[in-house]
Each structure stands twice: as C-alpha cells, then as structure tokens.
C-alpha cells in the first residue's frame, strides 16, 4: 500500500505541476491523494467485476470503457490528453531492494533439488526446518568441571543477590575510611521475634517425605492411671484405652468377639485425647 501511495503521490505532484501549481498544502495534497486513491480503487474494482462477468480473468479495454461509463466519466478527449506535449515524464521507479526474509539461524547449506524435481519449483527451506540441527556444544560430562561450573553459578547468583541487597539497603563496613563499597556488609536489623528466623531456617528446603514418614505417631503407650491424684475419670479411661490401630483389615470378624473389638476400636478412635488443655473452655459459673 505504502508503495502505491508513494507512486500515486508522485503522479499527483506531476499533475499539479502540469496544472500550474508551484506548491501544495499538505492537507490539500493528502485529500487529493485520497480522492485519487479512491478513484483508482473504484476503477479497478468495477473493471474486474465486468471482466469476471464476462468470464475472463484479466480486464480488457472494453471493461475499462464500461467502467468509466458506469462511473459517469466522459472519455472524450482522453486521447488528446494522452498525447499532450508538455507532459512530464516521471522517473522510473527505483526498484527498491525487496526486503529479504531474515534468516535468523542459517544452519547448514540448502540442498539443491534432486533430479526428479524441476528447477522452477521453489527451493528447499532452511535445512533446520526438516533435519535435526545441533544447537549447542556437546555437554561436558566431566565431574570436576561440572562441580566447578555449579559452584561458579551458585556463587554468581549469591553474589549478585547480596550485591543487590547491599546496594539497596543499609550497609556497614569493615573499614573506617571512605571505601564503603568494598566489602559492604548488609546491616543487621532487629527483629521483634528473632527466634523465628533462627529456628525456622530458610537456607535450604528439605524433602518433606521422609519427615512425614518419621512423624507417624509411634505406638501408643497403654495409658497409665496416674496414681496420686486419684482421678476417677482417668482410671476409667485407662481401662478402655486399647491400642488404636487401623480399622480391621480382615472383614471376617463378624463374630461377637469381632464386633466387640470393632466397637471398642470405634470408641477409642472417637475418644479424643484426654488432656485438659484440649478441653473446651467452660461458660462462667452462674452467680447465685
């Protein structure tokens, strides 16, 4: 489009010069360019319609004549106009170097056509479009180098991070002189609950798996009815606390005994741990 516009603009300029103008306002120029464009488009469209109507693919002069008739344009005198003397000859349009598709990655050389493919058919695309292309060097598998690299990488990350923090926050220095930027120390900030960071470290994330494994409750001890305070509740608890286990696996425990066991287990699993700190807070005593 832009090219067409440029060409039309040049034509328009020529026409105007022929008509005797020396200069043109930008807005007038643009308007006239629009008019010209619009005219060319309608001409083209209508001409194509006529030619297609006649079952052709390319318009002939007749189509154009019909077009102009349609558009209500008088063609008389056009011959004369075409042969006028003082017409300007426009310079040949510079064949602008067609922007070539940018080949980002030129890998390998293009294959020539095999003998059974005629030469006029398009050339093959870049080889990387249809073959495996090596995009990196062979990875280093030597242990030492790997460790070296991992260490360097880790160190770079850490250094960048600390540097960033040191630059953005308060710092302290080991030296009293001005060279504060050498060995900057990130200043320490007081924390209202310093133990939280210290006890729940964030320096490393550990797998939770084995942890969970270990955290499975160890087998429950048979509760000991603790002597001295002679708490009756406690003693009764002590009796019915059977070792909790997963629900019975074997479904053949339909006998009475089995049922009893089931019952007992139900109770013990439902029975919350008897610990005074887990019990609900009581409502205030009523004052009498």
């Amino acid at each position: 489009m832009a090219e067409h516009r440029t060409v039309l603009g040049v034509c328009l300029g020529a026409l105007l010069t022929e008509a005797g103008f020396d200069a043109v306002d930008n807005i007038a120029y643009e308007t006239m360019l629009e008019v010209l464009t619009s005219f060319m488009i309608s001409t083209g469209n209508t001409a194509r319609n006529y030619c297609e109507l006649a079952g052709r693919v390319q318009p002939v002069v007749g189509d154009l004549v019909m077009t102009y008739a349609d558009l209500g344009i008088d063609l008389r005198g056009i011959e004369r106009y075409a042969r006028r003397q003082q017409r300007l000859v426009l310079p040949a349009l510079g064949v602008g170097s067609a922007p070539r598709p940018i080949t980002i990655l030129q890998a390998g050389s293009k294959l020539p056509h095999p003998s059974h493919i005629p030469e006029h058919l398009p050339a093959f695309p870049d080889p990387h479009a249809y073959i495996r292309t090596p995009t990196h060097k062979q990875p280093v598998t030597e242990y030492e180098a790997l460790r070296e690299k991992a260490a360097a990488q880790k160190r770079d990350i850490e250094r960048a991070l600390t540097k960033f923090v040191a630059k953005t926050g308060d710092t302290q220095s080991l030296f009293t002189t001005d060279d504060v930027n050498i060995f900057p120390l990130v200043a320490c900030k007081p924390h209202p609950q310093p133990f939280l960071d210290a006890l729940m470290p964030k320096d490393q994330v550990f797998d939770e798996e084995d942890e969970d494994l270990e955290l499975q409750p160890p087998p429950k001890r048979v509760k000991r009815g603790l002597d001295l305070s002679q708490n009756t509740d406690k003693d009764s608890d002590g009796e019915d606390s059977s070792p909790p286990s997963s629900p019975p696996e074997c479904p053949d425990s339909q006998s009475e005994v089995g049922k009893d066991i089931l019952q007992a287990e139900k109770i013990s699993s439902e029975d919350p741990i008897d610990n005074p700190y887990l019990q609900a807070v009581k409502k205030p005593h009523k004052y009498i």
Binding site: E144, P194, D227, P284
Partner: protein, 1198 residues
C-alpha cells in the same frame, strides 16, 4: 570472710539460744495463689494468696514470710482480722558504707552479704515480710490449729522473678507472641507472690490464673478446668497440686502458646510459641523414652499426674524445672535436618524430667543438701545419656566433668558440697586444709546439724558459700558437676543396683508421705520424707547396702577439693617389678587435698591388664609391683586388653627389657582427681592406639602434645583414620596433630597435616581435591568433616603464618560446598568453615592503630583479602537465607574480630554493637558481645565499657545480662592493679552500687557482679580509690610508651614491606602478638612506687612487698580473735534488738541507730585490715591470707 566465721563461732550458750530461735514456728499446710489481673501492657499482676498455717506454739505473735519487689495491700487473718505488717529487705543496702570508698572491698562486703541472705532465710524463721498479729487474734493461736493468712498484693514491672517478653510490632499481644514466665534463680518465688520461700516447706497448692482470652496459663500442678470470666473476654485457669511441693518449685508461663499433646503419653503436653509447631513436634519426639527410662531404672512411677514442657523465648537458663513442668528455652527446639542440637536438647529435656523425681518431688532439706538433688538428678540424666548416646559418650562426659571440676578448684578453691557439718576428725579423713581453720570447724561440729544456715568453712572464695543467694553462679554450676561425680563414685562403692534401691526407697517413702494430709499439730511432720538431707541419705545407703558410707561422705562431701597424683615409675629388670612412686605434691594448693585410701593402678603388660590396689597413706607412696609377664618381644602373640579382646601390636617401639606397655592411675575414675603420669612417649602412643578406654585415649592425646616426633605423628594420624575409635578422640587427635605439626615445622615433609586424610575421606572419586557433595548420614564422618578444616587452619609454616596451600584448600571447601543432596542442614559445617578461616589469620606485619585510619582495603594482602571476601559473603548471605540459629553469623563475627585484633582491618566496635543489640537471636547477640569484650580488653575505652555495663545492668534479656558479666570475668577489661585508663573510681563505684544496692532483686546477677568485682579489684579496696593512683597511672603510661619503641620500628618497616626478608616478618609478628594480646602489662615498677608512698601508715607492712611471707601464722589468729570479739558483741546486741528492730519499708531513720553501730563496728574491724589495704599487686595473695599461713603450717606437719 574470716569475720563471718568468727561471728558464727560465738560462745556455746549464746549460739544455742540463737539457734533455738532460728526456726519457723509454724508449718504450712496449704497455699492458694490467685492472680486475677495479669496485664501485659503494664507488665503487672494483681494477686491474692492465702496461706494455711499451723502454729507450732501457742504464743505465736508474729511470723515472717518471704516477699520481694511486690506491693502488699492488705493482710487478713482468717478473713477477719487485719494484720499489721512490715517490710524490710537487707539487700537494698547490703553493706552500709556511707559513701566511704575505703570500705568498698569484698572483705567487708562478703560477711554483710551472707548476713543479708541469712536475715531473710526462711529456714532461720526469717523473711522480708513481718506479720504482727494484733492482740485480739492471740486467742486463736493454739498449738496446731490451722489459721488462714490472706494477702492481697500487686506487682508492677518486675525486674526479676517474672519475665515479660513483649515483642514490638503490629497486631494484638497474642499475635505478636507476647508471653511471660517465671524466671527466678534458685528459691525466688518470693519475687512474684508472698510465700515461705524455702525447699523444706512443701505443701499442696491451688492456683487460679485469669488471663486474656487468647492466652494460655501453664503452671505447676494439674489443670482442673478453664472457665470464662462473666464478660467472656478473659478466662481463668484453675490448677491444683496435691503432692506437697515447695514454693520455689512453683512455675508459671502465660502466653499464646500452641498446644501439642504428646502422641505417646497423653499426660505430657508441650507448648511452644506460635509458628514453631513443626519443630516442636520433631524436638519432643523421643522425650517419652526418657520418662520410660527413669521409671524403669528407679522402678518407681513418675510422681505427678502430668508433665508440661513450655518453650519460651528469652529464657534465663536452657532448662528450669518446676514441679510438673519444665520451662525450656525456645532455642532448644530444632527441625529434623539439624544434627548438633539434638544432643543438647535431648539431654536438657531428660535433665528436666530427672529433676522432677529428685529436685522437685524429693527436695532438699537445706542448702547444704542441694548436692543430693543435683547430684542424683544429673546422675540419672547421665545414665539416660549413656543409654541414648552410648558408653563412650558417657565416659567422655564424666571425664570432661572431672576436668572442669579440677580446673575450677585449682583456680578458685575447693568446693565443699555440704558445708553444714565438718567431717569427723578422723586422721584418715580429716583434710589437712580444713584442720587449719580448726577453730570454727570445731564449733560446727558442736552444734552439728541444728543450725540453719550453713557457714563458710572454706576460706578461699571471694563469696560466702553459706547461701545460694551469695554463691557465685559459676561455683553453683561446678558444684552440680561435682555432686554428679560424687553420686557416681558412690555407685562404684556400693554398686549400681543398690544405689538405685536407695533412690527407690527415697521415692517410695516420699510417695507415701505425699499422700498424707496435714490437718493439725499431730500431722505436722507428715511430709518430712519429702525432703532429703546428707544424713538421711547416708542412713538410707546404710540400710539398703549395709555399708557405712559416713567416711566416704566425710571425705568427699564435707571436705573440699580433689586429689592430685603424680606418678613415676621405673622397671626393675632383675626383680621383674615396676617400682612405682605416687606423690601428692600439690597438697595445700588451691583446691587440692590430700587423699588417703585405696588407689587403683593399672599396668598394661604384654600378658594383659593387671590392676593393683595401693593404699595411699602419705604424700609419697611407693610400691613395687611384680610384673606378670616376662619380656618376650620376639614371640608373636596377641596381647590381651582390659576389655578381654586380644590384639596384635607392633612392639618394636618399646623397651625390649620391659613388659610394661603403659600405666594408668584410677582408670575407673573412682576419685575426683587430677593425674600426672610420667611415662615415655612410646607408652603414650601404645595407650592411644590400643587402650580401649576413651578417657585413657584422651589423656594420651594430651600427653602426646609434648612429643613432636614422627612416631607420634603417625600414632595420631592412625587414630584420626581409625573408624573403631570414638569420634571425639579422633577429633582431639586432629587438634593435637596440628600442634605436633607446628612443632615439627622444620622437619615436616609432604603436604600439610591431615590434607591427605581429608581428601581420602571427603574428596570426590574422580578428583580428590574437589570435596564430595555433603552427605551427613554417617555422623562420625560429619564430625570429622567439620573438625579437620578447623584443625588444619591452625597449621603454621616456618614463617609463622598459615600455609597458603591450606587457605586455598579452605576456600575451595567453601566454593565446592554443595548441600543440595543432603538430608541434613550444613549450617554447623559452614560455621566450622568460617571458624577455620578465622583460625588461619595471623598477626599482620603492619602496625597502625585504627585511629590513624591507616588500614584500608588496599592494605590487605592477597590471601587475607580472599578471606575477608569470603567472610563478607557468608555474612551477607546469612541475612537473606538465615541458617539454623545463625551459626554462620556467629562464626563470622568471631572471625571479623580476629581480623581486627591482628590488624588486618581497623579495630572498631560498631559492627559488633549492632549485632549485640536487642532484637537479634540469642547466639548472635552473645557472639557480638564476646567480640566487644575482646575488643574492650585490647582497645576499649571507658565509654565502651559503659556500653557493656549498660547491657549487663539493663538489657531486657536476663540471660544476656548474666552472660555479659560472666564474659567480662573471663576476659576482664584490665588486670588487677594494671594501671589501665579504664580503671577509674567511677567504675568501681558503679560496680559497688550494683552489688550493694541496685541488684537487690536478682541474686544471680548480683553474685555475677561480685565475681566481676573480685576479678577487677581482688578482695581489698579497689586501688583506683587511692589518691595517687592517677599519678601511678601516668607512670605506667610513660613506661608503656617506652615499651612501644619496637613497635615504632615495625611501623617504619611497614613502609617497605616488599623489601622485607621473610625472617624479618617473623620477628615482627612475634612482637606484634605480644603487644596486642597483653597491651597493658603493668611494669612492676609502679608497685614499688606505690608502696613507698604509703609505707608510713603501714606499720608492720612498710616496704615489705612480699605479702604473705610477712605474716606469721600467729598474727592471723590474733587478728581473727579480735574480730571475733567485736562481732560477738555486736551480734548479741543485735540479736536482742532484732525483735524490736523490725522496721517498715520506710524505716531508714529508725534503722539509723543500728546502722551507725554497724559502721562503728566496721570501723573497728577495718583498722587491723588497714595495713594491708594499700598493698597492691599482692592483694590476691593477701586476700586468701587466712588460708595461706595455715597452709604453710600444714606443710610443716607433713
């Protein structure tokens, strides 16, 4: 101190009267404590306490109770009669000096200190709060009829006893994690409610604590119910404890705790601060095992119905056991990947539970019986650690405890576990040391057990050992260790089973007693079995075992000190005997006593281990021990060891004539002793390689430090590599190898010591110089991996610097450290690496003070620069990714201080100050403070010291306060009479005011300050009070400047460091070390200046700078007896006055008379002292003068 003794040694009759008076005339049968208003904003509580007492006599007109820092509003008897009360706390001004600086000496302070402690000692029937019953109530007092004393009180911003932790920030108090807990030292319940604050008066309790709706109150006893207040905004926790419990064992913690019921034992509940639940679960996972262990071992049930563990921040101690609850430091908690902390945490929790049995349930009758509770509880903990961590760990632990005791006793003096009664004067058990101070021993013996407050019978300490409120906390700590070993020694004498039966018997008796009720006079002794005393215990041992242990107790519990043996031997080839000589040369030195009795000597011969029991009867014992084996080095035969195993040995190193491989004294540690065995180095090497006992191996390592030979090097290297050896021995071998390598530096061939071992163990398969990815599943390797770099960092080459190879090796360890595949945290490992970097630092060649600003980053040498860079990186990274307990930061601070100290970076306290400020984690603060105190000693000004003292006095964390003072004692800012610029009268006055008045509420801190006062000034008046002290200081300065001349050379040399020969560097280095480490060595001249100036007023002392030798034993006795008279007079008059003289809180003018009397008395006393007062650098010897002449006389009697 001699005064206090002589005072107590009054005439018999008077003493008896007094003793009769000195007891409580009532029994406590029940107490209720109700705290209704616990206010976090104002840090205040409002409370009510009701004591049910049973009078022991009809004409009870007044009683004393303990109450401190609380405001009492009203006291009602039987809810009806208002009772008048008076308050007097002698600690408000321990010793009245009237601002007379001359009297501000510990010599004066100590007796007054003990007196103050005894004046409020409930076991003497005294206390701070005096209740005077009005006349109309007198008919109520019939012997044995219970009465109720109700006391309304409040407490605002407590300085000790109760500790409030209120973090700043957004949100409600609960969201911020505000909490409070009891933090008293020893018997300090009086700091938060009125009580009979003694261990010997147990009773049942009820508690009511009303707290905010978001909080939980955890207290001693069983939680009965929790009820909302009528406004539903607060709730009340009702607790009851039916087992009679002594007031000091009542604990309380209030806070927004998270609750975790132990999954194994539902009676056990754990509490932690919000956010810590995951690590709480990990930390307490195995706690139930210790419960089971104790119950099985003692074959007795846990005595209470429940147990609670509360983990709080800013705890004063790691563990503080109360009845049915243990108050723990939150810093004991750890997550699953942490290794090192596990040992400490398990032990701490086990200790708290052991103390439930002995300590809380069975408690001591008097202070002098403290050793029993401590000893038994620690002994039980020891047994648990043995089960948990193994025999070697246990033996090593015992061995370390022994070394600690020996070190402390030799430094400070012998510890008497039970000073209440002198040992029976049998010639075999009587300790020579004590026979010197015979006069008061004698007196002790006469009234034996009956007197309440035990008196100081050891003349060596700067503090009276009669009361826990005057004891040095360090003494307290060592005493616990000694008690433990004594119980263990008892086990060896009567047998493990029998000893456990003794414990069991005590527990059974106490359990029976605890179930009884106390209604009236007939049952006032119902609970007597709840307490234990030395005598009772000795009887129980006799009943159970049939063995009379009285002489054992006399010789180890009632006598101070430990034994010290040095052994020499030669092998007599003709008779095939070992001629042995055991000497007790140091008897009479501080902390060392003469031992008489059996002593086991073990000879390891070619045919096996043979134990010989020798009877030690004098200072020198000789014996000829016949060897069982003939020398036969050519026969190849395995050699049996003490464990029964048989091993091959390379016998080429030993003397072909002798069949003795090595000799040991007292291999089972059946005595508290220090050993010095003299045997050739190859014997030590055999002992290290082949003896199976870890203590023997450790001793061999210590001995081998002296022998820098290739054979020794090989023995140590083999030990480090030997997987069969106990890990701590291997670690010690590594450190020892460092010393050997440094001593052998000129002949050392090959790579730096241990480098090969480290690479072999930890290098990766394909490239040994790159360390493997961390895998700490093998703990032995883990500890080696942590320790070897530190040991290697101590290596020095011929120039006295750390070999660059080692520094590079360490830096590579940092670089290649990869913990990504590890199940455990590498925080301690990384900290060890930083520590190792710190250990590589040697003094710089440059010698510029920080003030000149001369040290810049450019002046860093290549390797040091890398070290600084690494430390900076670690420290910065820790800010973003903090590791467990900030161990890396702690290590970094230490390393930075070392860099400063050795002149690589400017010496400045600024960084450490920010790390030691409130709001950092505890370990970091302590590390910062440690650096500051080290700085103080080298470069500190008076302002710097003030900063430290401000922390010691006012910091919000009690533990920090305590630790700062302890560190200042270990690294005092200046030596006694060194003429330091910091040593000013203002400082002395400040410290004096602390011990004399300001710290009346906190016994522990006060006693810390007493120790500090002693460390800085000795027993006598601080020298800085002397008028011409300033002059002498000037002189010092001038001389010091003179001394500095060589340093000037160094400065000049520094300008062209490149040109310097390496040898020169070495020289400079040594000078620098001296200059830096001991910057203010007092030139001896000043002292003589000082002496001559004052000599006129010193009859008998003038010009005699040889302090103690100027005394004759007789001189001292005279002085002592003179004191005695003075004291007796004042004492008797005082005791008469006592009843009338009870003053109210605002009693000063009334009290005046009494005080002036005191003053005049002190004046009298100070006169005989005065000749010695201005002596200066002999102060220390003079102060212990009362012991030294007697020692001299003893030496003669030998």
């Amino acid at each position: 101190m001699s005064k206090s003794e002589s005072k107590s040694g009054g005439s018999k009759a008077k003493q008896k009267d007094k003793e009769k008076d000195l007891k409580r005339h009532f029994k406590l049968s029940h107490q209720l404590v109700s705290l209704t208003g616990i206010n976090f904003q104002r840090q205040s509580i409002i409370g009510y306490s009701e004591l049910t007492i049973i009078p022991l006599k009809d004409n009870l007109r007044y009683i004393y109770l303990n109450a401190k820092q609380i405001r009492v509003y009203k006291i009602l008897l039987n809810n009806t009669y208002e009772v008048q009360f008076q308050y007097f706390d002698p600690f408000l001004e321990v010793y009245q000096t009237d601002e007379n600086n001359d009297k501000k000496s510990l010599d004066n302070f100590s007796p007054a200190h003990l007196k103050a402690a005894q004046a409020t000692d409930s076991d003497r029937g005294l206390g701070e709060l005096l209740l005077l019953f009005p006349e109309e109530t007198w008919p109520l007092f019939q012997e044995g009829r219970p009465l109720k004393v109700g006391i309304e009180f409040s407490l605002e911003e407590p300085k000790a006893g109760l500790h409030f932790v209120i973090p700043e920030g957004e949100g409600s108090l609960a969201e911020r994690g505000a909490h409070m807990f009891t933090s008293g030292y020893a018997n300090s319940s009086r700091l938060w409610f009125p009580c009979v604050d003694t261990f010997s008066e147990p009773c049942p309790w009820r508690f009511e604590f009303t707290v905010d709706e978001s909080m939980i109150a955890v207290a001693s006893g069983e939680l009965l119910e929790v009820v909302y207040t009528p406004d539903m905004r607060r709730k009340t926790f009702y607790y009851s404890i039916t087992v009679p419990t002594a007031a000091p064992h009542i604990g309380l913690a209030v806070g927004p705790f998270e609750v975790f019921v132990d999954p194994t034992m539902h009676e056990v509940t754990h509490f932690c601060l919000p956010g810590l639940m995951p690590i709480l679960k990990t930390s307490v996972k195995y706690m139930h095992e210790s419960f089971e262990f104790y119950e099985e071992t003692l074959s007795a049930r846990y005595p209470y119905s429940c147990y609670k563990q509360v983990f709080v921040e800013q705890a004063v101690e790691d563990v503080r056991p109360y009845a049915t609850m243990g108050l723990m430091s939150t810093y004991l908690l750890h997550g699953p990947p942490i290794i090192d902390q596990v040992y400490l945490t398990r032990k701490a929790m086990a200790q708290a539970i052991a103390e439930q049995f002995f300590g809380c349930f069975i408690t001591m009758e008097r202070w002098s019986d403290l050793w029993l509770c401590h000893g038994i509880a620690t002994y039980l903990t020891g047994l648990y650690t043995k089960k948990c961590f193994g025999d070697n760990e246990y033996l090593d632990y015992i061995h370390l405890e022994m070394q600690d005791i020996v070190k402390y006793e030799q430094e400070m003096g012998g510890i008497v576990l039970d000073p209440s009664q002198a040992p029976a004067p049998l010639p075999t058990t009587q300790d020579t040391e004590n026979s010197l101070s015979g006069h008061h021993h004698h007196h002790h013996h006469k009234h034996g057990k009956s007197h309440g407050g035990p008196q100081a019978n050891s003349p060596v300490f700067q503090f009276p050992i009669g009361s826990v409120h005057t004891l040095s906390p360090k003494y307290f700590e060592i005493m616990r260790k000694k008690s433990h070993l004594i119980i263990r020694m008892l086990e060896q004498r009567i047998g493990h089973e029998l000893l456990l039966q003794v414990f069991n018997k005590q527990l059974v008796l106490a359990t029976t007693a605890s179930q009884q009720k106390m209604y009236n006079i007939s049952s006032v002794n119902a609970w007597s079995h709840m307490t234990i005393s030395t005598t009772v215990f000795a009887k129980a041992v006799f009943t159970v075992s049939g063995k009379d242990m009285e002489s054992f107790i006399d010789s180890w519990v009632r006598t101070q000190g430990h034994a010290h043996f040095s052994l020499q031997f030669v092998f007599n080839r003709k008779r095939n005997t070992v001629e042995l000589e055991i000497r007790q040369e140091k008897v009479g030195n501080s902390g060392i006593r003469r031992y008489m009795g059996p002593l086991v000597v073990a000879l390891q011969e070619l045919d096996g281990t043979f134990k010989h029991t020798l009877q030690i009867e004098g200072n020198v014992a000789r014996a000829d021990l016949t060897c069982h084996s003939k020398s036969r080095r050519n026969k190849k035969k395995k050699i049996p060891l003490c464990t029964g195993e048989e091993v091959d040995m390379d016998l080429s190193a030993m003397d072909p004539e002798s069949p003795v491989l090595w000799v040991r004294i007292d291999p089972e540690m059946t005595l508290i002793r220090a050993n010095k065995v003299q045997q050739p180095d190859y014997m030590w090497q055999y002992q290290l390689r082949h003896e199976r006992d870890v203590t023997a191996q450790s001793e061999a390592i210590v001995a081998l430090e002296m022998y820098a030979t290739p054979a020794c090097r090989l023995a140590l290297t083999d030990t480090i590599e030997n997987e069969q050896t106990y890990i701590r021995v291997r670690l010690r071998a590594a450190h020892c190898l460092t010393k050997i390598a440094n001593a052998m530096v000129s002949s050392w061939a090959g790579p730096p010591a241990m480098l090969a071992i480290f690479r072999k163990l930890f290098g990766s398969f394909s490239c040994p110089h790159v360390v493997r990815q961390n895998d700490f599943t093998n703990l032995q390797l883990y500890f080696l991996q942590k320790t070897i770099p530190v040991a290697m960092a101590g290596l020095r080459n011929a120039h006295g610097i750390c070999p660059p190879e080692v520094i590079r090796f360490l830096l590579d360890l940092f670089r290649f450290n990869d913990n990504s595949k590890n199940r455990f945290s590498d925080n301690y490992y990384r900290a060890a690496l930083v520590e190792a970097l710190g250990a590589t630092i040697t003094p710089t060649v440059s010698m510029l003070t920080s003030k000149s600003g001369g040290i810049t980053s450019e002046s860093l040498t290549g390797e040091t620069k890398l070290v600084v860079e690494e430390i900076t990186r670690c420290l910065n990274l820790e800010k973003l990714l903090p590791c467990y307990k900030m161990q890396v930061t702690v290590a970094c601070l230490g390393a930075i201080r070392k860099l400063q100290k050795f002149g690589h970076i400017p010496s400045s306290p600024a960084i450490f100050r920010s790390y030691s400020s409130y709001g950092q984690c505890q370990d970091v603060r302590l590390a910062g403070l440690r650096a500051l105190i080290d700085y103080q000693r080298v470069d500190g000004t008076a302002e710097d010291l003030e900063f430290l003292l401000d922390i010691a006095e006012n910091d919000q964390e009690p533990r920090i306060r305590h630790e700062v003072v302890r560190m200042l004692i270990d690294t005092p800012p200046f030596e006694l009479a060194s003429g330091s610029s910091v040593d000013a009268p203002a400082l002395a006055s400040r410290l004096w005011n602390n011990i004399n008045q300001n710290l009346h509420f906190d016994s522990k801190l006060r006693c810390d300050f007493v120790d500090l006062y002693y460390a800085l000034y000795g027993m006598r008046r601080p020298l800085c009070y002397t008028e011409n002290f300033a002059l002498s200081k000037l002189a010092t300065k001038r001389e010091a400047e003179g001394d500095l001349a060589p340093d000037g050379d160094i400065k000049r040399a520094r300008l062209s460091p490149v040109l310097m020969e390496e040898n020169q560097i070495v020289e400079c280095v040594t000078v620098e070390i001296e200059a830096k480490d001991q910057p203010q060595i007092p030139p001896p001249k000043i002292d003589s200046n000082y002496f001559s100036d004052n000599s006129q007023s010193l009859p008998g002392m003038s010009g005699n700078s040889q302090g103690p030798t100027g005394f004759l034993p007789g001189m001292f006795k005279e002085e002592g007896s003179g004191d005695k008279h003075g004291k007796e007079d004042s004492k008797s008059s005082k005791s008469k006055k006592k009843k009338k003289d009870k003053k109210k809180h605002k009693h000063k003018h009334k009290h005046h008379k009494h005080r002036s009397k005191d003053a005049s008395r002190e004046g009298k006393h100070s006169r005989p002292d005065s000749p010695a007062t201005p002596s200066n650098n002999k102060e220390e010897t003079l102060s212990s003068g009362s012991s030294s002449p007697s020692q001299a006389s003893q030496d003669v009697t030998f």
